[in-house]
């Protein structure tokens, strides 16, 4: 059974969003997504300062099985990326909601995460398959 922390919101394309106290949003991929991908071997991250539209491809996570795009769940500017993933991409497999975070965005407006799913709704989505 997938781990789905109740304090996060989720995109239908399996990214999670955490609101940090400094007002930025931390983004990663869900436990369900890392499990489906299998062992991750490479991660491509965006440049800091890049402006992203909601739904824009902003990172690539590549596993032994397949390469997969990661989409920005909200519009915003890239404030930080998780450089540790360049050498230890397996952090995403081990700790998808912690050490395996991908990037932090400053959202264009505080309400831009409307349309994202609650943990309960995301849980229902992946159970439906």
């Amino acid at each position: 059974m997938s781990n789905i922390p109740a304090d996060l919101t989720f995109a239908r394309s399996h990214e999670w969003v955490r609101r940090l106290s400094d007002g930025t949003m931390e983004i990663g991929i869900s436990d369900h997504a890392q499990h489906a991908l299998g062992d991750l071997v490479f991660v491509e991250l965006p440049d800091i300062g890049r402006r992203l539209n909601a739904g824009e491809a902003c990172a690539v996570v590549e596993s032994v099985k397949a390469a997969s795009d990661v989409y920005a769940p909200v519009a915003g500017t890239v404030m930080a990326v998780n450089d540790q993933l360049r050498h230890t991409p397996e952090l995403i497999n081990r700790d998808p909601y912690g050490g395996g975070w991908l990037l932090r965005l400053r959202a264009e407006s505080p309400a831009t995460d409307v349309g994202l799913l609650s943990a309960a709704d995301y849980g229902a989505l992946i159970t439906e398959g």
Partner: protein, 339 residues
Amino acid sequence: MPAAYGSQIEEHHAVRRAAGVFDVSHMGIVDLHGARCRELLRGLLANDVGRLSLPGKALYTCMLNEQGGVLDDLIVYYLDDDFFRIVVNAGTRERDLAWIGARAAAVEVRLQERLDLAMLAIQGPQARERSAALLTAEAAWAVLELQPFFGTQIGEWFVARTGYTGEDGFEIMLPTADAVSVWQRLNAAGVHSCGLGARDTLRLEAGMNLYGNDMNEQTNPLESGLAWTVAFEPADRDFVGRRALEAVRARGPERKLVGLVLDERAVLRSHQRVLVPGLGEGEVTSGTFSPTLERSIGLARVPIATDAAVQVQIRSRQLPARVVRVPFVRHGKALISLV
């Protein structure tokens, strides 16, 4: 067999460093009985079973169509003058049975598909020792004495020193009813459960072809890195596909299968385009991330004159790849230079 039981990369390393077990019961085991078995197989297979004189000896071979295309690759065991066993791919099993069956009746050879047998591959530097520990002292002695590419019947088990990983080990064919308990005893003996994903990364590191990816009925062995498996001698042995292959050999094959190493942070995948400056294009036939080399490796079919360097189209980028001799890894050691 699942893609992985846990981490595919851990399963891979278990086989390179210790021992792993794969359930390969999906493969087809077919026994051939009849006084004219050898004659039948000498006409059907591109390698020559006439070379097999010691009971239990195994031979890797392609089975070709008249055009020289590869219908399947398989292992044939010589067990007695009127008894051979072949192990074929799951996806080609039915076609193989029809193909062989159509020629077997005329020489009074009877095919017996062994659906009663499961097959476990135990592979890795400690695989033989840990497998033998499950057997009686007498049986353990017999299987540990097996030379590479030989098999022997031990009671209800057929144990062969063969595999698809580039490591030492056994493939064991045994009654299906015994398979689960043997699997559990292997686990208890420290043999790691391994899935299809690790099987693919291991075979690719070992430079072994996968039927359907690296060759099929549209490609011949000479352009698939399998010329070494075609026995053109003796010249008077006629086998299906021989004339077509001789024509290819006379004019020279136009393409070849090579190993590729990607030093960039990306992964080769089958069907990616390979760009060969001045010579045209090729295609990646198999690609993966190599856990042992910690970079991507692959096989590609390219123009025959392709030299040391090519470019591969990976998503939106063209990345340089090195052309290398396979295998990439053998007995746990990297055989290519890592820059």
